[in-house]
């Protein structure tokens, strides 16, 4: 009996020691300790107003259009405007459709800030300016990078109205933003999607020669007898896209290859917006030296051939261009390649990166 109790005591002490050791080293949480102490949860209530606006559909030094990624501005607070408009979206030389977009672009502008930065965001629903294109309708915006009350910040904005709210970029990562008004699927297949990049506070652990944003998304369209192309909820519900795109158009970067040089280290911010499908992102002819799932350097994998991205999921991938050549990037789900999910990185020039 006594021997049994001794064993139990030893066992209990061992468990206590393990729990204590885990707590001390931060296992089960962040490797660098509890960084959530510095995070900002929530923000003041959003404001709605009906002040007319004019001028560009997006404004702010933190914004750029993919594949370009402008450096995050050297500031801790960012004033950002991304307006909503209804406008024609060009799919290729012969196909266009009536879209609803952020910042006048499909996909919407890339927002690039740093961890801990505060974003003062403003959005006007300018669908009332284009009644000849599509009936003005309510819209909203949902930043996956933000930690705020969705019922307040992501509420509907009627045509002509402006919403303002602020949020803090707590986690480094690559995140989607999209319209969250019902039916969300419908708003997303009309084009209301975009990317936020939140850089780690002290930068990434690697230095790269080039970086690009790659935004994968599906287009669900159908051709009416009149020849007009319209978005198609029926095929979207069946997850049967007409096109799968990188940066808004099928095979866009086959026609407009991304540039690189042999020997360079390239960083791609890859976001799969969906809205319905997954992506198996792969670059032919190289391996990913670093993969940071969701764009967070602590979620690291190495020597990866293909990265699986769920709908709205993202990763930062880095690779060395091994030698002169043209490198194809694809969604390795090859039905998606047939639908347009392929592009090129042209490193065929004679120039070689100086190291």
């Amino acid at each position: 009996m006594k021997r049994f109790n001794l064993k139990a005591e030893v066992l209990a002490m061992s468990i206590l020691f393990i729990v204590w050791a885990f707590a001390l080293t931060g296992c089960g949480g962040s490797a660098s300790g509890d960084d959530t102490k510095n995070m900002v949860y929530g923000s003041p209530e959003s404001k709605l107003s009906m002040v007319p606006v004019s001028g560009p559909l997006y404004e702010g030094p933190a914004l750029s259009i993919a594949p370009e990624v402008k450096p995050a501005p050297n500031a801790t607070e960012h004033r950002v405007r991304i307006d909503v408009s209804h406008s024609e979206v060009l799919v290729n030389d012969t196909i266009k459709f009536t879209g609803w977009v952020f910042g006048g672009a499909y996909p919407g502008p890339v927002l690039h800030v740093r961890q801990g930065d505060k974003v003062y965001f403003k959005m006007t629903n300018r669908s009332n300016e284009t009644v000849g294109i599509s009936p003005p309708s309510p819209h909203s915006i949902d930043f996956h990078a933000a930690m705020v009350n969705p019922k307040d910040k992501y509420r509907e904005v009627i045509p002509g109205a402006t919403i303002e709210f602020e949020w803090t970029a707590n986690y480094p990562g690559v995140y989607m933003y999209h319209c969250g008004s019902p039916a969300i699927l419908q708003h997303m297949i009309y084009g209301m999607v975009g990317m936020t990049i939140v850089e780690p506070k002290d930068g990434y652990p690697t230095k790269v020669d080039r970086e690009y944003a790659l935004f994968q998304s599906e287009l669900y369209l159908s051709r009416l007898k009149s020849g007009m192309y319209v978005t198609d909820m029926a095929t979207a519900k069946k997850k049967d896209p007409m096109f799968v795109c990188f940066n808004g158009q099928p095979f866009r970067h086959v026609k407009e290859p991304l540039k690189a040089k042999a020997g360079e280290r390239v960083r791609l911010y890859v976001l799969n917006a969906g809205p319905c499908g997954t992506s198996s992102f792969h670059v032919v002819g190289t391996l990913f030296d670093r993969v940071w799932m969701e764009g967070h350097p602590q979620n690291e994998m190495r020597g990866v051939a293909t990265v699986m991205l769920p709908s709205s999921g993202a990763a930062i991938v880095e690779f060395i261009v091994p030698e002169k050549g043209i490198y194809t990037f694809v969604d390795h789900e090859f039905a998606d390649v047939e639908a347009g999910a392929a592009g090129l990185i042209d490193a065929s020039g004679d120039e070689v990166a100086m190291k």
Partner: protein, 167 residues
Amino acid sequence: MNRFLVIFTASFLGMAPVVFAGAAPKGTVYFFLGSLCPCTDAHKHSIMELMSLAPKKGIKLVAVFPNKGESGELVEHFFKGIGFKLPYIIDSTNRLVKKYDAQKTPQVFLVDDKGRVVYSGPIDDSVENLGQIKNAYLKNAVLELAEGRPVSVPRAEGSGCWIVRNR
């Protein structure tokens, strides 16, 4: 006989008339919809429930497409995408928009057998409640009208797309 034939003379619409036959209706619901407006989708389950319920209660359902640029092809595409179909009118002269002073889509008008509007507004309040219906405005009004009771909520406000009139 309490049988009759209602014909919405739709010659002004440039399309075949919408014909309803059967028992004299106690009322008619006019659903103002837009084929390019996303807001109807949030109410599709309520509409489909009414498609089953209302005819049994003697209430007719009619969709009205009032926007400039509507076509039969767009409307058919809209119904295919949303997963139900109602008898419809393309209100190209905006006669019905003006008659009921419709402002947005979706917006509904429940009209009794004497032509009086007994309910106008949204189908329900699901948009305001993140998908949860707390007030089934139209369904309640349909039931009250069918049972010969006064409609307890004759008017409500909801969100929607603006109607773009032809003239």
